[in-house]
């Protein structure tokens, strides 16, 4: 607990020195985003073509301190302030911001995903005649929220980060102003998102009330009372429901398919990958750091969420005829697999975290890739209907092969990445040899078969069926999109064939609590 109001005023406030290196990624992104805005404001139309390049450069530059922090791993975990023996550690923000291996892996993931999203957006935005520079500034803002999120160990910073992720996304979902579907996408996403935040906040307020501190580690200490109290349970349940909306867990997923279908497709990729990952990061932070002693409340709740999320997501995905919608529901189902390790985190929270992060990393590669192919195909077919993919092998064999790799990866078929992600989840579920974990593993296994059905359905269209209108002219793939597909294919294959590359990064993940 921090000092009271009175003591704060009375004490002579000494300014502690800031650990600039630790917050360099966020600062670079903030400064870069502002710079892009200013450049856009000054030169307007003349620099419009440069904005996407500039934004992607900002992401890559922000990646540099992430890498140096990782390489200089000795000092981790580091906080916002440089700990000085002479300066007493006071202040409300102490421990709210922590840079450790876990957050660095996620920051890298967010920045690289954002880079790929910019590659996906460039042609879509400039050819669609939308406001493009503002779009990239909003993406930068949203990614900034994600970076902060991965370091947040405090209710306030989690909340602010979550909103920073979401609010720009509401705007971008409604980006195609004249398109009714896009309007609807933005409206549904915004209403559900704001509602979810409100529920989440109510849960947080109860947790804060019990603990008297917003710091996650303080909450953990305060609720470690060896029994469950209704108000704690209520706070936990509301909090998890709030995150459930963000990660589109059933039954809080209703916004996802409509928003995904209506929003601009690059943004859909952003929501399905980066924004969802941010939701999971928040969930992990709260569950692992603040609620390690409340497994008896958290586990059953998440167990049920995970089981119905994967099952319902897959069953509805089976019926879809629109590929983007199908990917949306498949994303819902994948969220179920990602929730699964958190249903058995008691005592093995490191392993559970590592499994979720591994899944997030691999899922990002394969899902971004799938969306890249959807965007490329739509340049020719002007449609995301499943039937429009017929005969794709005849006119775009390379693209078909890439999509097949992504689909098999999503279905979890080796040797491409997805199997490793699934394996990690199964490993955590069976590790404790608990009936609940093994039952969930069996449910997940059955689900992966259902999922294979609709993934193969797409592959079938592309490989075996003729194109619907007999048009077999080739697709011109712009370099940015080609790069996006190339990067994601490489990542998907490498993570499956050499899973050590991923596990080296995610295996010693443990979420450091703020001090």
């Amino acid at each position: 607990m921090s000092g009271t109001f009175v003591t704060l005023v009375a004490a002579e406030i000494e300014r502690p020195s800031i650990d600039w290196h630790a917050i360099a990624p966020e600062l670079i992104l903030l400064g870069g985003g502002a710079l892009v805005t200013v450049i856009d404001l000054i030169w307007l139309e003349r620099v419009r073509k440069l904005i996407p390049t500039l934004t992607s450069l900002v992401f890559l530059v922000a990646l540099i301190p992430v890498i140096t922090l990782w390489a200089d791993g000795s000092g981790l975990p580091r906080g916002l302030w440089i700990i000085d023996e002479n300066v007493p550690a006071t202040g409300v923000w102490e421990g709210a911001f922590v840079v450790d291996n876990y957050s660095l892996v996620l920051k890298g993931l967010f920045l690289l995903s954002a880079y790929v999203i910019v590659l996906l957006s460039t042609n879509y935005m400039s050819e669609g005649d939308y406001y493009d520079s503002e779009y990239y500034q909003l993406i930068a803002a949203s990614v900034l929220g994600m970076l902060v999120m991965s370091s947040s160990r405090d209710l306030i910073s989690i909340f602010v980060a979550l909103e920073l992720v979401s609010i720009p996304a509401y705007l971008m979902a409604a980006w195609r102003k004249r398109d009714l579907k896009s309007n609807e996408a933005g409206l549904k996403y915004m209403l559900m998102g704001v509602f979810a935040s409100a529920i989440l906040l109510y849960g947080m307020s109860l947790l804060y009330g019990i603990a008297g501190s917003t710091l996650l580690s303080d909450i953990a200490a305060a609720i470690d009372i060896g029994e469950s109290r209704p108000v704690i349970t209520l706070g936990i349940v509301f909090t998890i429901i709030g995150f459930g909306f963000k990660v589109s867990a059933v039954p809080f997923h209703t916004w996802a398919p409509d928003t995904y279908e209506g929003a601009p497709t690059p943004l859909t990729a952003f929501l399905a990958v980066a924004s969802k990952a941010a939701g999971f990061v928040a969930l992990i932070n709260v569950v692992i750091v603040a609620l390690p002693t409340q497994a008896n409340v958290v586990e059953p709740f998440i167990w049920v969420l995970a089981a119905i999320t994967m099952t319902v997501g897959n069953l509805i995905a089976l019926r879809q005829t629109n590929l983007v919608r199908m990917l949306a529901y498949s994303g819902v189902a994948q969220a179920g697999y990602m929730l699964a390790p958190l249903a058995v985190y008691d005592g093995i929270s490191d392993r559970a975290t590592s499994a979720v992060v591994t899944y997030l990393v691999i899922y990002a590669a394969m899902n971004l890739g799938a969306f890249a192919v959807v965007i490329i195909a739509a340049r020719k077919t002007r449609s995301a209907e499943l039937s429009s993919y017929g005969g794709m092998f005849n006119y775009a064999p390379g693209l078909t092969l890439a999509m097949t790799i992504f689909l098999f990866s999503l279905a979890g078929i080796p040797p491409v990445g997805g199997w490793w992600a699934k394996f990690e989840v199964f490993r955590v579920l069976t590790e404790g040899n608990r009936t609940s974990g093994i039952a969930l593993a069996v449910i997940a296994a059955v689900n992966s078969v259902i999922a294979a059905f609709y993934y193969l359905n797409i592959a079938k269209q592309m490989w075996f069926l003729p194109s619907p209108d007999g048009d077999n002219s080739r697709i011109a793939i712009p370099p940015a999109l080609l790069a996006a597909v190339g990067l994601t294919v490489a990542a998907t294959i490498v993570s499956g064939v050499l899973p050590g590359v991923v596990s080296d990064m995610t295996d010693f993940v443990n979420v450091a609590a703020g001090q």
């Binding site: 009271t4 209710l155 909103e163 609010i167 209403l191 409100a198 947080m204 398919p257 919608r325």
Partner: protein, 99 residues
């Protein structure tokens, strides 16, 4: 301290807000119902803060007020967009996509 009264008030506000979100068809009214929930949260935060003699609750409440303003700003912009294109802000009419 009168913590219970504050909590009771906020619980009532919360329930009214949730009820409003689930039943109202008008986009603006849904946003207002959400504001009610946020106010319930703010009351909780301030009350708990005072009860625990901790500043964090008030700080949190200030953040919520600021962020909620941004949310409502964006929200109203989107509702306005819908109104321009459809001449209606009935959210049940926004049903182009199903399945």
């Amino acid at each position: 301290m009168f913590l219970n009264q504050f909590l009771f008030l906020s619980a009532v506000l919360f329930c009214i807000g949730v009820y409003g979100v689930l039943t109202r068809k008008n986009g603006v009214l849904v946003l207002m119902s959400i504001e009610l929930i946020l106010n319930a949260v703010n009351i909780n935060m301030v009350a708990f803060g005072a009860f625990n003699a901790d500043l964090g609750g008030q700080v949190f409440a200030l953040f919520i007020i600021a962020v909620a303003a941004a949310e409502v700003g964006v929200g109203l912009a989107i509702v306005l967009l819908i109104y321009r294109n459809r001449r209606s802000i009935d959210i049940t009419e926004a049903d182009l996509m199903k399945g």
